[in-house]
C-alpha cells in the first residue's frame, strides 16, 4: 500500500465519521432530506467562494458555502411557515433553484473557473493526496485531510459538549424547551454542523454522496439498536468500513471511489434491512406470519371452549366451520398440540387443562379491552411459537 493510498483511505474514513455524527441526528429528527437540500444548495456558495478565494480548501470558502446551506434551511422554513405548501414541497422547491443558480454561475464563467459540475457532484478523492498543505515549506500532508480533520474535531467537541442537550431535544422537544434548552439554537447548530460537514466533504466525495454517508450508516444503525450511543458507534463503524472497503472495490474496478463507497454503503444497508434481528424485513415478515398463526390459534381455542357438542369439535367439521384452508388448519392444529393446548381423540378435539386456562385468561383480557396483554401471556404458555 503506497502512501497516497493510505492517505486516501484516511481521508475517506474521516469524512465518513464526520458525516455519520450529524447524520444520526438528522435521521432521528426526521430531517434526512434537509441534508439532500443542503448538499445541493451549497453549490452557489462554493462557486462564489471560489471566485473570491481561488482555492477549494480555503476556510473562507467553506464558511461562505456553509452559510448558503443555512440560508436554504431558513428559506425552507420560511416558505413552510407561510402555509402555502407543505414542508417537503418547500424543500423540493428551494434546492433545485439554488443548484440551478450554481450551475449557471459555473457555466457562465467556465473559462475562469477550474471547477466543473461533475466534480462537485462526485468529488475526486483520487486526487486529494496531490494537493498538499505546506507550512513553512514543509509538507504536512494533504490539504483535505486537514480540512476534514478540523471539521471532525469540531463536530466531536460539540457532540461531547452538547450530547445531553442534543439527546433530549431530539427525542422530546417539549421537555427540552421546558428545561430551558433553546430548540432553535440546537436546531440551527445542528444545521450549521451539517452544512459545514457537507462543504468540507464535497471536495472529497461530492455533494450527493455526502447525503449517502450521512443517511445510510445512521439508517442501518437505527435498524439494529435503540440506544443513541450504540447507534452513533454503529453508524461510525459502518461509515469507516464502507469507506475502506469501498476504496478497494474502486481500486479493483478502476472506477469512482465515491461511487463505490456509496455502493458498499448500499450493500451494507441492504443486508441490515433484510437481516436485522428484530426490525429487518425478514424478521418483520416472520413475526407477522407468526402472529397470524397465533391469532388463528386463539380463534380456534375460543371456538373449542364455546362448544361442548362432539360434532362441533370434529376435526373435519372445524375445517368447514372456521373456513380454513387444509394447510392452515393443519398448522394451527399442530401448534396447539405441540403446546399441549388440545388433545385429539378419535378425531374429536378437546381442550386440555392448560388450553382451557389459557383461553379463559385470553377471554378476560379481550373483554376488558386489554388485548395487548395477550402478547405477554403467550410467553408463559407457549413452548413453541407459531
Amino acid at each position: 500500500m503506497s502512501n497516497a493510498q493510505l492517505e486516501i483511505q484516511l481521508i475517506a474514513s474521516l469524512v465518513a465519521v464526520a458525516c455519520a455524527i450529524p447524520g444520526t441526528f438528522l435521521v432521528l429528527r426526521k430531517m434526512a432530506m434537509i441534508s439532500d437540500a443542503i448538499s445541493h444548495s451549497i453549490l452557489p456558495g462554493i462557486v462564489v467562494g471560489f471566485f473570491v478565494t481561488q482555492d477549494l480548501n480555503s476556510p473562507l470558502l467553506i464558511l461562505l458555502a456553509a452559510l448558503t446551506g443555512i440560508v436554504t434551511v431558513v428559506l425552507v422554513e420560511y416558505i413552510q411557515k407561510t402555509g402555502l405548501v407543505k414542508e417537503d414541497t418547500a424543500i423540493g422547491l428551494v434546492f433545485p433553484a439554488m443548484f440551478s443558480i450554481g450551475v449557471i454561475l459555473i457555466a457562465k464563467n467556465a473559462n475562469d473557473v477550474h471547477l466543473d459540475v461533475d466534480a462537485v457532484l462526485l468529488g475526486e478523492l483520487a486526487f486529494a493526496p496531490f494537493d498538499r498543505l505546506l507550512i513553512a515549506e514543509t509538507d504536512v500532508g494533504p490539504k483535505s485531510l486537514w480540512v476534514v480533520g478540523t471539521i471532525l474535531l469540531i463536530t466531536i467537541t460539540l457532540l461531547i459538549l452538547f450530547f445531553k442537550e442534543l439527546k433530549i431535544s431530539t427525542f422530546d422537544k417539549g421537555l427540552a424547551a421546558s428545561l430551558g434548552f433553546s430548540p432553535a439554537i440546537i436546531h440551527y447548530g445542528l444545521m450549521s454542523v451539517a452544512s459545514v460537514t457537507t462543504v468540507g466533504s464535497f471536495d472529497a466525495v461530492g455533494a450527493i454522496l455526502v447525503v449517502a454517508l450521512m443517511i445510510a450508516p445512521a439508517a442501518a444503525a437505527y435498524l439494529l439498536t435503540t440506544d443513541l450511543k450504540k447507534m452513533l458507534a454503529l453508524a461510525i463503524g459502518f461509515g469507516i468500513f464502507s469507506a475502506i472497503f469501498g476504496y478497494w472495490v474502486a481500486h479493483w474496478l478502476d472506477a469512482s471511489i465515491a461511487g463505490s463507497i456509496t455502493t458498499v454503503l448500499g450493500l451494507v444497508f441492504l443486508l441490515v434491512y433484510l437481516f436485522a434481528p428484530s426490525k429487518g424485513v425478514i424478521a418483520v415478515m416472520y413475526r407477522e406470519k407468526q402472529q397470524r398463526t397465533e391469532v388463528s390459534l386463539l380463534t380456534f381455542l375460543l371456538h373449542l371452549k364455546n362448544h361442548d357438542e362432539l360434532e362441533e369439535r370434529h376435526v373435519n367439521h372445524l375445517r368447514e366451520h372456521i373456513n380454513w384452508q387444509k394447510v392452515r388448519a393443519k398448522t394451527v392444529l399442530d401448534l396447539a398440540k405441540k403446546n399441549n393446548m388440545i388433545h385429539i381423540e378419535k378425531n374429536i378435539v378437546s381442550l386440555t387443562k392448560k388450553g382451557d386456562e389459557f383461553t379463559s385468561k385470553a377471554i378476560d383480557y379481550i373483554m376488558t379491552n386489554e388485548d395487548a396483554q395477550i402478547e405477554d401471556m403467550k410467553d408463559d404458555f407457549f413452548l413453541f411459537r407459531g
Partner: protein, 375 residues
C-alpha cells in the same frame, strides 16, 4: 435578438423548434402529474426517483452497448420503479421514516449509478461518451423522435388520466373512503406512481437527474395557489410547466453558455414566486392587505364602540363631545374618525364630535349581531 425574430426562428430552425416543442411538452406532462405528487405529499419522491434512475441508464447501456435513448429510458424506468417500491418497502416494513427512505434510495442509487458510469468510461468502447448528459440534461440533444416519444407518452397519460379521473381524484383526497367504495386502491396507486416515474424518466434527457424534481414540483406548487379545484390545478400546472419550458429555452438560446435545464427550473421558480406573492386568495401580498384591512376595521369598531359608550350617558345621543376625549384612546386615529364621518356615523363640528342616529344604532348593535359585511 429581438422577440419577433426569435419567434420566427422557432418556426424555421429545426433544432430550436424541436427543443422548444420538447421542453413545452415535458413541462406540460410533468406539471400535470406533479399536481398529483404534490397533493399526495410525495413532493420529494420525484427527486428520489430521478436519482434512482441513473443506475438503470448505466446498466441498460452496459447490456446493449448502444446509446439508443429509448433503451436507456426503459432502463431508467425500471430502476426508477425499483427505487420507488423499495422506498415503500422501507416505510411500511421498518420503523424508518419516509424522509430517511427517500434520502437513502436517492443517494445510494445515485452513488451506484456513478460507480457504473465511471466504470463504463474506462471501458475500451468509443460509444460511451455523453452518458453523463443525463446528469444535468442537455436539451440540445433532443431530436424529433424524442419529441414524438414525449408526445405519445403525454397522450397516453392524458387518456389514462381522463379515464380514471374520478378514481384518481377520490384516492387523492380520501383513500379510506375509496377503499370502502370497492375501488382497487393498490392498482390506482401503482398507476399514478408509474406515470409519475414515467414523466420523470422522460425529462432526464432534457433537464437531468438533479433538477428533474423541480420540474415536477414547481408548476404544481404554483398552480395550487390559484385554485382549489383539482381539474383547474392540473390544467394550470400543465400550462405553467409548458411556459417554463418555452421561456427557459428562449432565454438559454439567446445567450452563450447557458444550459437549458437550470434556466427552465429558474423560470419555473419565478412562476412559483409570483404565485406565492400575487395569488388573490392565498398569496402573501393579499393576505397582508387583508390583514391590514382587518386591523383597520377593528380600530374603527373600537372607536365607534367607545363613542357609543360616552354617548350612552347623555340623553341626547347627538350631544357634541370634544375630540380630545378620544385622544388617549388606543383605536383612535384621525383617519378612523374621518372614515366614520364618511360613513355618516359621526358629525364633526370644529373640535367637537357627535354621533348621528345611524351611528348610534350601528354601535349599539356592533357586538350583538354578527355583522358579515365589511365596514
Amino acid at each position: 435578438m429581438d422577440i419577433t425574430e426569435y419567434i420566427k426562428l422557432v418556426f424555421t430552425d429545426y433544432t430550436l423548434r424541436t427543443i422548444t416543442l420538447g421542453t413545452a411538452i415535458l413541462g406540460a406532462v410533468t406539471g400535470m402529474l406533479g399536481s398529483f405528487a404534490v397533493l399526495r405529499k410525495q413532493s420529494l419522491l420525484g427527486d428520489a426517483i430521478s436519482h434512482a434512475a441513473l443506475p438503470g441508464i448505466a446498466i441498460a447501456f452496459l447490456i446493449t452497448g448502444a446509446k439508443d435513448s429509448n433503451t436507456l429510458l426503459i432502463g431508467a424506468l425500471i430502476s426508477g420503479l425499483i427505487g420507488t417500491f423499495w422506498i415503500r418497502g422501507i416505510v411500511t416494513k421498518t420503523h424508518l421514516k419516509s424522509d430517511t427512505a427517500l434520502g437513502l434510495i436517492l443517494s445510494l442509487f445515485f452513488g451506484f449509478g456513478m460507480l457504473l458510469l465511471t466504470f463504463i468510461q474506462k471501458q475500451p468502447n468509443a460509444n460511451q461518451a455523453g452518458l453523463d448528459k443525463y446528469l444535468f440534461g442537455q436539451a440540445a440533444t433532443l431530436v424529433e423522435s424524442d419529441v414524438w416519444l414525449m408526445a405519445i407518452v403525454t397522450g397516453l397519460c392524458l387518456i389514462v388520466m381522463l379515464t380514471f379521473w374520478k378514481e384518481f381524484k377520490i384516492l387523492l383526497f380520501d383513500a379510506d373512503y375509496t377503499q370502502t367504495l370497492g375501488f382497487n386502491t393498490k392498482f390506482i396507486d401503482i398507476l399514478i406512481t408509474t406515470f409519475i416515474v414515467l414523466a420523470i424518466v422522460l425529462g432526464l434527457q432534457t433537464v437531468g437527474v438533479v433538477l428533474m424534481s423541480a420540474m415536477l414540483l414547481a408548476p404544481a406548487a404554483a398552480a395550487r395557489q390559484w385554485t382549489n379545484s383539482l381539474s383547474v390545478m392540473v390544467f394550470l400546472a400543465a400550462l405553467f410547466g409548458a411556459f417554463s419550458g418555452v421561456f427557459g429555452t428562449a432565454i438559454s438560446a439567446s445567450q452563450n453558455n447557458l444550459s437549458t435545464g437550470p434556466v427552465i427550473v429558474l423560470v419555473a421558480g419565478v412562476f412559483v414566486m409570483f404565485s406565492f406573492i400575487f395569488s388573490p386568495s392565498r398569496g402573501l401580498l393579499f393576505k397582508q392587505i387583508r390583514f391590514i384591512k382587518n386591523r383597520r376595521d377593528l380600530e374603527l369598531h373600537k372607536t365607534l364602540a367607545f363613542m357609543h359608550h360616552i354617548a350612552e350617558t347623555h340623553e341626547d345621543i347627538s350631544h357634541p363631545h370634544a375630540i380630545k376625549l378620544l385622544n388617549n384612546f388606543q383605536g383612535y386615529t384621525r383617519s378612523t374618525l374621518q372614515k366614520l364621518v364618511d360613513k355618516d356615523y359621526v358629525q364633526l363640528n370644529g373640535n367637537m364630535w357627535s354621533l348621528t342616529k345611524t351611528g348610534f344604532e350601528t354601535a349599539a348593535n356592533l357586538y350583538t349581531k354578527q355583522s358579515t359585511e365589511d365596514e
